[in-house]
């Protein structure tokens, strides 16, 4: 066996490209670039929306116009030109009422490349899936099976038509239009996303899942997800995302709102794998996302995220623990490599009595990337006996990357108990040599060390996702130790 040199390894890794970086030639309808009230109206018209929805959007647009792009995050990027983005793009030939068999064959081929076999999805009985390409939802599986239990799972555009009372009642209540710059923008121009309602007392029998894909160039993706778990219900929800490799930066600004009524539980898992840019830092998705959940009495919301993609990430899935005895959890693995930047974390707002929150954040930085954890734990004056435990661990690879931790703690109640632990470690030459000496090559050794580091969070993912996430971590970090 000839010697496998470091140069061979480097070469191999350089050719390791983003696996999902392909572009599918779909016959698409794309709006002209730019944003103004007419575009907002046109989106609403395109979606055949009722008057109230159009007004809601216009209101959001006017709010957005008055706002400024936030600059407090620990990231550096050239701000997007909002007049140079197309706000609506849809693969033609989609019709929300048609069955999977009618879906564009190019689309089906694309799913196959993405590793989503829609046919398989039909047969498997544990995951129901909604697939969003660019601005529209193109396929939703298992609708009928779910409907038997009274569960609504559909594109949000469809929910606006079919269940306006629910959308009207809840949309914007958790993340108001005025919340922040990107939430306001999303409220004005969101084009699709998933809607899910679990009725009282129902345990959703399968994982619900949404797969997001940006396909067209020069477009932004603005999806909106609304999950309502009525009293004493349970749902586990997964989302995944990819985008083609492009030299330009693409904007993704989503809003996710979760509502857990009394005694309900929502488990929300994300594997975020937007195109991270090239190894020289060219292109990549700007991922500016607002995710928040409201917990009523005795309810529980748990966010689990594996973030490996995007050039810039700005994302804080949060819980408002309004009801007494409610529980909020945040489990996160954020990986940055090359020139990626991530500023991510959570907010746990304790308002009710005996509320509990747990934060476990694992940041892995490699290359020349910057990885920040930013978290707020806030205990309100009426939140007797609130508890929080936070653990933020950072793992550094090489010596050109950065890990940062910004924990904010505000307590207005003396009975609160707040714990914060933080560690920073480095994958050392000594660890790698130790593994090598046992016959484990460097790539495998890094995977082993990273998996060990991330174990607490990987364990929180549903089985099917955990395997995918583990693989993703390995791919994202390939070539990070010379």
């Amino acid at each position: 066996m000839s010697k496998y040199t470091e140069d061979d390894l480097k070469k191999e890794l350089e050719t390791q490209e983003y696996e999902y970086g392909f572009y599918t030639e779909l016959d698409s309808e794309t709006f002209p670039k730019g944003l103004n009230e007419d575009i907002v109206r046109a989106i609403s018209k395109k979606k055949n929306e009722p008057e109230w929805m159009m007004e809601w959007r216009l209101d959001a647009f006017r709010i957005w116009e008055q706002m400024e792009e936030p600059e407090w995050a620990n990231v550096n990027y050239k701000k997007p030109d909002f007049q140079d983005i197309a706000y609506y793009s849809a693969p033609k030939k989609t019709d929300p009422n048609k069955t999977l068999d009618d879906v564009d064959s190019e689309l089906l081929a694309m799913y196959k490349k993405l590793g989503i076999s829609v046919d398989e999805q039909k047969k498997m009985n544990n995951i129901a899936m909604d697939i969003v390409v660019d601005s529209v939802s193109v396929a939703t599986t298992f609708k009928e099976t779910l409907a038997e239990k009274g569960i609504l799972f559909m594109p949000i555009s469809e929910a606006i038509q079919e269940h306006p009372e629910l959308v009207k009642k809840y949309m914007g209540t958790i993340v108001p239009k005025t919340d922040n710059f990107y939430a306001a923008l999303n409220s004005a121009v969101f084009t699709d996303g998933s809607f899910c309602y679990i009725p009282k007392g129902v345990k959703c029998p399968m994982e619900l899942s949404t797969y997001f894909r940006i396909n067209e160039g020069g477009t932004g993706q603005f999806e909106r997800t609304l999950v309502i778990a009525d009293e004493n219900s349970y749902v586990s929800y997964l989302e995944g995302c990819t985008a083609p490799s492009r030299d330009e930066n693409q904007l993704h600004a989503a809003v996710v709102e979760l509502i857990a009524m009394d005694d309900a539980e929502i488990k929300y898992s994300t594997v975020q794998n937007w195109f991270p840019g090239t190894k020289d830092g060219k292109g990549g998705v700007f991922n500016f996302v607002t995710k928040r959940g409201m917990c009523h009495t005795n309810s529980k919301i748990s966010w689990t995220q594996v973030e490996t993609g995007s050039a810039v990430t700005w994302k804080y899935p949060s819980c408002v623990l309004k009801g007494d005895n409610s529980v909020g959890e945040f489990y996160s693995i954020a990986v940055t490599n090359n020139f990626q930047q991530a500023d991510t974390g959570t907010k746990m707002i304790h308002l009710g009595k005996n509320t509990k929150s747990t934060i476990i954040s694992k940041g892995i930085s490699a290359g020349k990337s910057q990885n920040s954890y930013r978290g707020l734990v806030q205990i309100g004056s009426r939140a007797e006996n609130a508890r929080n435990f936070s653990q933020c661990d950072s793992l550094l690879m090489g010596n050109k990357c950065g890990a940062h931790t910004f924990p904010y703690i505000e307590s207005k109640n003396k009975s609160a108990k707040i714990e914060h632990e933080a560690t920073t470690s480095k994958i050392g030459e000594d660890q790698l040599f130790y593994c090598n000496q046992r016959g484990i090559d460097t790539e495998k050794a890094i995977a082993l060390i990273v998996n060990g580091f991330s174990k607490d969070v990987l364990n929180k993912l549903p089985m099917e996702f955990a395997v995918e996430a583990q693989k993703l971590l390995e791919i994202s970090l390939e070539g990070s130790v010379g």
């Binding site: 066996m1 010697k3 496998y4 470690s425 050392g428 030459e429 000594d430 660890q431 040599f433 130790y434 593994c435 090598n436 000496q437 046992r438 016959g439 484990i440 090559d441 460097t442 495998k444 082993l448 060390i449 998996n451 060990g452 580091f453 991330s454 174990k455 607490d456």
Partner: protein, 245 residues
């Protein structure tokens, strides 16, 4: 089995090994002794292939084949094992998982399939019984929070699992009390057979009371200055190293 020919090695511009010659045959135990800074640990690192050290001259043969150009993992696949003086911690990775990964990596290099879980468990049971180890600690994170004795026992457990041809025990006695030392030495003795060889690197004679060497070599300033039988170790114990300088 192992043949070291005129090895010169160092870090950057600093020469540490200055022409080492050593031959180890199957079934033998060699002890390498010497004062601090004589190059003992460098020698074990160079045999294992640690790239921190640069070899400027000489060659190392395993079963007649040069291994100098092989990476550390390739040498491991050929049966080189090193028990570390300071075993590293790998949080979140259990000893069982680590050893499983190592065994399967070696099998893969030899064109074999992964060892079936059933056989792996059987092997773990056998070896942990042989070394009188509590299996509970195999599910703990590798070396994390282990005592000095536990770490060294874990090294010997890995050696038992990997069944190497050549084992290098680098200062295995450091940081061990006499009871832990006996347990570790006992383990090594149980693993000895006519087909494998052991190099014991140590500063003190006491380990050699338990792992009795066939040959003792004294290293000084990067050279073997004296070789002899096991009685040489006792002589060193009595007289120190100064008389050899």
């Amino acid at each position: 089995m192992l043949k070291i020919k005129n090895i010169h090695a160092g870090i950057e511009d600093k020469d540490i090994l200055r022409g080492i010659n050593l031959e180890v045959k199957a079934g033998e135990v060699h002890a390498i002794m010497g004062p601090n800074g004589s190059g003992k640990s460098t020698l074990s690192s160079v045999i294992a292939g640690n790239e921190t050290y640069e070899v400027s001259e000489g060659d190392i043969f395993l079963d007649g084949e040069s291994i100098l150009e092989l990476s550390p993992d390739e040498r491991a696949h050929k049966g080189v094992f090193m028990s570390f003086q300071y075993p590293v911690e790998i949080p979140g990775v259990s000893t069982t998982n680590f050893v499983k990964t190592a065994i399967n990596a070696k099998r893969k290099a030899h064109g074999l399939e992964d060892l079936p879980a059933k056989d792996m468990l059987k092997l773990i049971r056998e070896k942990s019984e042989l070394l009188e180890m509590d299996r509970k600690f195999l599910s703990r994170s590798l070396n994390e929070g282990f005592s000095g004795g536990e770490k060294k026992r874990n090294e010997i457990f890995q050696m038992a699992m990997l069944e190497p041809k050549l084992s290098i025990l680098d200062e295995t006695d450091s940081g061990l009390d006499i009871d832990a030392l006996k347990i570790v030495a006992n383990g090594v003795n149980k693993l000895r057979n006519k087909d494998n060889a052991v190099i014991v690197i140590t500063h003190y004679q006491r380990l050699l009371d338990y792992i009795v060497p066939d040959f003792v070599h004294v290293l000084h300033e990067g050279k073997i200055v004296k070789s002899g039988g096991k009685e040489l170790a006792l002589e060193l114990e009595a007289k120190g190293y100064d008389w050899l300088k």
